[in-house]
Amino acid sequence: MNSEHIHLLLNHLPTIGFGIGLALFVVALLAKQSELQKAALVIFFLAAAVTIITYVSGNDAREVLKKAPGISDPLIEAHESAALVALLFMELTGFFSWIGLWIWGRQARFARWNAGIILILATLAFVLMSRAAYFGGAIRHPETEAAQAIPLDPSVPTLARAWGLFVQDNSWVWPACETLHFIGLCLLFGTVLIVNLRMMGIGKTMLSFTALRQLLPLGMLGFTINLVTGMMFFVATPEQYTGYLFLLKMALIVAGALNLLYFMLSKAPGVVRDGDAAGIGTKLIAVSAIVIWMAVVFCGHMLPWLGNSF
């Protein structure tokens, strides 16, 4: 298996998987089934995480296809930009879904507003993702009428190219994003360390899980800063981020998302009060969270030495 296959394996999840989530969410809203709604939020959040891998693996697929005959590069670029817009809405849906999970059972009025926002974002994300998938399908099936109906003008830079040119033409953008990427890393680490070290026993007499829960948005803020700044690097110079190391980094981020969901959804950490020791399962998951996020830093940091950056 080469890394192109990863794109082929994962590219139905943002459309079909996410579509199932959207259907579930709509049914849940109409039927006023709150547990079903929660399940849909979990699907949105996980789909947003996995879609990051889908997006970046497209880059590897492109490298492979460059050597294949009869493949239209302008069409790949159109697919890339369609996917970029779709990714933006997918991540926004995931972000608000996470907020929905975080305030679950509290702040009913805000939760209703939030559900409305999620419904709009998820619908847009689904439509845009279907469009991206349509462009993507045409790459391998140029003989179809659908493929020929896609308007392409290679003289106009696509969104992704325009984005890349912006980063390359303004020399301050790259170092500014790098600095922000480090600041985001610190914010994420602060939350990851305090929450998980507490679960391992540090400062347990003074910290309940209910208190720790209040820290989670700070970690999410750090992650969001790093997703945005990371995309600045990736979209500007995608050729630097091909290969397994970067895909591993993205896969570890999905593992980090699953880890976070355990703490937010499972009963076991939720009942940990002041002075309580967490169960052995929770402790192991807490250790894994710290290992996962350090491994994410490892993969990013080693790109120039083990990957093909710079």
Partner: protein, 165 residues
């Protein structure tokens, strides 16, 4: 200058710079990044808590996380010294390097002052809101760490040392 050159050209420095091993330059720089995550991560969370974020987290609980922060600090003091040694002549001529050191010194003094107000002063406890002085120190702490990170990152651009990093 001769002294700096001798450090820079020592066998150890040459190994760190040139060895084709992840434990040399890449590994030392990785530890420097992770150490930053420990120090600034916990310190920034502490600062934000003082400023009113996550009020259910007891301020005194942070006392237990200070040792973690100091582990990060010493990792960075050691790896930072190595990174300085391997690039001694260039870094010591780079004004940005002294800006970074100054920010770190200010941040460390700042966190000591804040620690005293939060944990040592008898009046400080979780029932009383943090004083205006503590809030001011929390703001300056965030500024100093952002300054340290920014000037540190810019070392790769201002008076370039080795490669991109």
């Amino acid at each position: 200058m001769d002294f700096l050159l001798r450090i820079e050209e020592s066998g150890f420095s040459q190994w760190v710079r040139g060895a084709d091993s992840l434990f040399a330059f890449p590994g030392i720089l990785l530890l420097h990044t992770l150490g930053m995550g420990l120090v600034v991560g916990i310190n920034a969370t502490f600062d934000l808590r003082i400023l009113g974020f996550a009020p259910a987290v007891r301020l005194r609980a942070f006392k237990k996380f200070f040792p973690v922060m100091w582990i990060g600090f010493w990792i960075n003091a050691i790896t930072g010294t190595i990174l300085l040694a391997v690039n001694a002549t260039k870094l010591t001529r780079n004004p940005d390097f002294y800006v970074k050191l100054a920010f770190i010194a200010l941040a460390v003094i700042n966190v000591q002052l804040l620690r005293r107000s939060a944990f040592v002063t008898p009046a400080a406890n979780d029932e009383t809101a943090p004083s205006a002085r503590m809030k001011l120190l929390a703001v300056t702490s965030l500024i100093f760490w952002i300054g340290a990170i920014t000037s540190g990152r810019l070392l790769a651009y201002v008076g370039r040392s080795t490669g991109v990093f």
